[in-house]
Symmetry: C2
Subunit: 486 residues, 2 copies
């Protein structure tokens, strides 16, 4: 018998497949847990298990929380129960802060207690070698036979900002502010660090966070399906190191992208990177070019780095989708507009040709004919009419021009947010197209202006080419949606 079928028969042995499916808890049930037990909660308040008990209290998780430690005792003024059985209330979710060898026995305890899902935080399963892999298979078999759902091992686990649930000892109240980004990561600590960073940015709060770790049970497909159906989630971000079942993933992705944008970063694009993923989350290498083509066809937006990911999130979350690829630029600097046009054309966008009416309207504030074309050059005419009037007149004309699908506004940040108040006031009522800003100035002025604009949901990019790239991605996504509708 080949090794493959041995594994299959071993996994399916001993339970009826149909019954098993019927009993299996859903990812949603686990994410919506009303009670959490931390197994392996130390009496030492500095250890992760103890920290998590404290954090759940601090971030205002509405459900019940218990710590389990065979020695009993207490931490953060909470009693530690000697066994899970002793916990005096039903437990939906158990977080396991124990070594790999102790996990199987703990899972049996969880099953008896009626636990719906577990987060296995420990490392040392499949990453370093054969013994770990054996534990991991054992865990998989127990989960499947009991119907409990497992996240990890090697993960900080779950976040649900709607209920205040977190299984990460690396969380803060700010991180738990409800937002609309659903994030899945096949990683350990990265998901925590990135969510913490995102939560500090204007308007980029998350809805749900799911750390997959080594994916002993719940995988990218189930996580994606859950987020696709989750109403709090408006956009999905993923970091993956491998995809175990390519066909299933593409089918799921196709369904998900029809409902909301899915942005994907993948580690292991190169053979060297892929080799590193093996010791990180025991991933299987995939040929990147094949993978890339397939996911793009499924409507997934591929991003290559975290900064690109964040910039793209902003565009999709703050702005309507562009109805075409024709870009108009308003600028104080010919050079910056030209570099933006280069990027736009390289990324598949076009330079909008302004209508005669639009040029006529613009010429009320821009006297030089060569500057009232696209790119519209504010300088030096804005000195005569004032920045606010010039900007509002031009933006108004461009928004009304059916030949313009998106606008990049390139200007100075000199007086902080002030010059942009009347501009935002005007745009608020009129803006049915993406309008991105890119303002150059001192860090302080840029922060003031950008914060104001982004509070009003106008994305700002340090340099305009960054905004152009985002607009190009949004256009590709919109185009795919249009093609699907036909």
């Amino acid at each position: 018998m080949p090794r493959h079928s041995v594994v299959i028969s071993w996994i399916t042995e001993g339970f009826d497949n149909v019954n098993w499916r019927a009993k299996m808890h859903s990812v949603r049930e686990v994410l919506e847990a009303k009670s959490v037990a931390v197994i392996g909660a130390s009496r030492d308040p500095l250890k992760p298990g103890a920290q998590l008990l404290n954090i759940l209290k601090k971030v205002g998780f509405g459900g019940r929380v218990a710590g389990v430690n065979p020695q009993g005792g207490e931490v953060f003024e909470m009693p530690l129960y000697r066994t899970l059985e002793e916990v005096p209330f039903p437990v939906d979710l158990a977080v396991l802060h124990i070594p790999p060898a102790a996990v199987p026995a703990a899972l049996e305890q969880c099953s008896r207690k009626g636990v719906k899902g577990v987060v296995i935080s420990a490392e040392g399963f499949a990453e370093p070698g054969d013994r770990g892999a054996k534990y991991q298979e054992e865990v998989r078999a127990i989960l499947q036979s009991t119907g409990m759902r497992g996240f990890g091992p090697n993960t900080l686990g779950l976040v649900n900002t709607a209920t205040g649930l977190t299984t990460s000892y690396y969380a803060s109240s700010r991180m738990m502010k409800p937002g609309s980004i659903g994030f899945v990561a096949q990683s350990g600590i990265f998901v925590g660090a990135l969510l913490r960073y995102l939560s500090s940015l204007e308007g980029l709060q998350i809805s749900k966070g799911i750390g997959l770790g080594n994916k002993v049970d719940v995988d990218e497909c189930e996580a994606l399906t859950y987020l696709m159906e989750d109403e709090q989630t408006r956009i999905i971000g993923m970091y993956l190191e491998d995809v175990r079942d390519g066909r299933r993933f593409l089918e799921t992705a196709r369904k998900a992208t029809a409902r909301k944008p899915v942005l994907l970063m993948k580690g292991g694009r190169t053979p060297e990177g892929a080799r590193a993923t093996v010791s990180h989350t025991a991933s299987l290498a995939v040929e990147d070019a094949l993978f890339d083509g397939a996911i793009r066809q499924a409507g997934v937006v591929r991003v290559l780095s975290i900064d690109e990911f964040i910039r793209t999130l902003k565009g999709f979350l703050f702005s309507p989708l562009p109805r075409g690829g024709r870009l108009a630029l308003v600028t104080y600097s010919g050079a910056q507009a030209i570099m933006s046009i280069d990027t736009a054309v390289e990324q598949g966008l076009q330079v909008a040709r302004l209508s005669d009416l639009t040029r006529e309207k613009i010429s009320r504030v821009i006297s030089t004919p060569s500057k009232s074309k696209n790119p519209v050059d504010l300088f030096p005419d804005m000195l005569a009419h004032g920045f606010e009037k010039t900007a509002v007149e031009i933006l108004g004309a461009l928004l009304e021009d059916d030949g313009v699908d998106g606008i990049i506004f390139i200007s100075f940040a000199i007086f902080g947010a002030e010059p942009y108040r009347p501009v935002v006031e005007f745009l608020r009522g009129h803006c049915h197209k993406p309008v991105f800003f890119s303002l150059l100035g001192t860090p302080k002025d840029m922060e003031l202006a950008n914060t104001f604009l982004e509070e009003n949901r106008f994305p700002c990019y340090e340099f305009p080419e960054m905004g152009v790239r985002v607009l190009a991605r949004m256009r590709k996504y919109a185009l795919l949606q249009e093609e699907r509708r036909i």
Copy 2:
């Protein structure tokens, strides 16, 4: 007679070529001007010409300054002279804030006064049409016959932070802090905006700034030659929209890159972008692929956007060049390390293989064998030994390993600069390889940590892939230098 030779004979007519070369002033003489006259200085203190008089006083220009206005009067408590002749001291540099049609007569005045160079700030020469082009040819002929050097038209002109000279009304004292970046831009206002922005960043002050505008006389080759020879300048940045004499530019670039790095951004990479450069600085289109190959062979570092330009500047200015392409990573996050390895390999770097001795040293602080390889994973061992000790031991081992040419250190920014003080203290004595940092945290913590590290000349990048790209560029530059030496 073809149009081309008509123009040539018209330009060379009327003066002896050899004599003309002998009389011609150098770019250096103009940049080191000891006195400046602003022709067209308004009595209205808000107008650019008047502003410039005020700014030269404020930024502490050591030379003499005069304003010229046919109506006389005064502005900012300075008398305005009715003609340049009336200025009671010799004038090295004249800045012309007058319309195109008035420029030729002003140039004749300048020549009589013994002026060495002029900055022609006005737009409206070659950009919008034939009449402007005629003025521009007239200006060119006068400059060549008199030996005065001309910058512009359509430029903010010159900055020399060593002497406090600026011809830009868009300057500030902070912008004039002496640094070592020489910057040349074929643009109008962009050079001013970018220099202002650079001056706000840690360690990125400039030495000289040269705005070429429409290049009626001084062009990219002469500017590059000047900066190559200028001792204050350690690195050269260029923004160009065209190169008028390809062969001459490549020869000049080859000489310059042998002495210091030259980073180049070019507007008009695409046909659409190139079309826009015509109305911006009346540029001629060049096939970008040809141009790109040629300049890279000449050792020029091509950068595609302003943010890339700034990140690359930091790497070259703060760090030694890597002696090979073998990269080591220290990380808290497997995911971030893997994405960095992907980028490194895509950019031509290799993943360093650590020596047995290095791994042994690292294993003193990192207990898991799979984590003491490259990428070295700090987490969770750093919790046991403390961040500072762990970081210093690992960095020490990597710096001593001859198989490592550059290091990317990926970590958290949680406690601001504090955790990095002992690390920098240690590195200060030991660092003969590039060590770049990438720290993730709240914006405030990141700013504290990054500012501290960059004050100590360790480049910080928001995300590690950015640092990897810079290291790859530095390696390519170093390799070319090594090949030239053979």
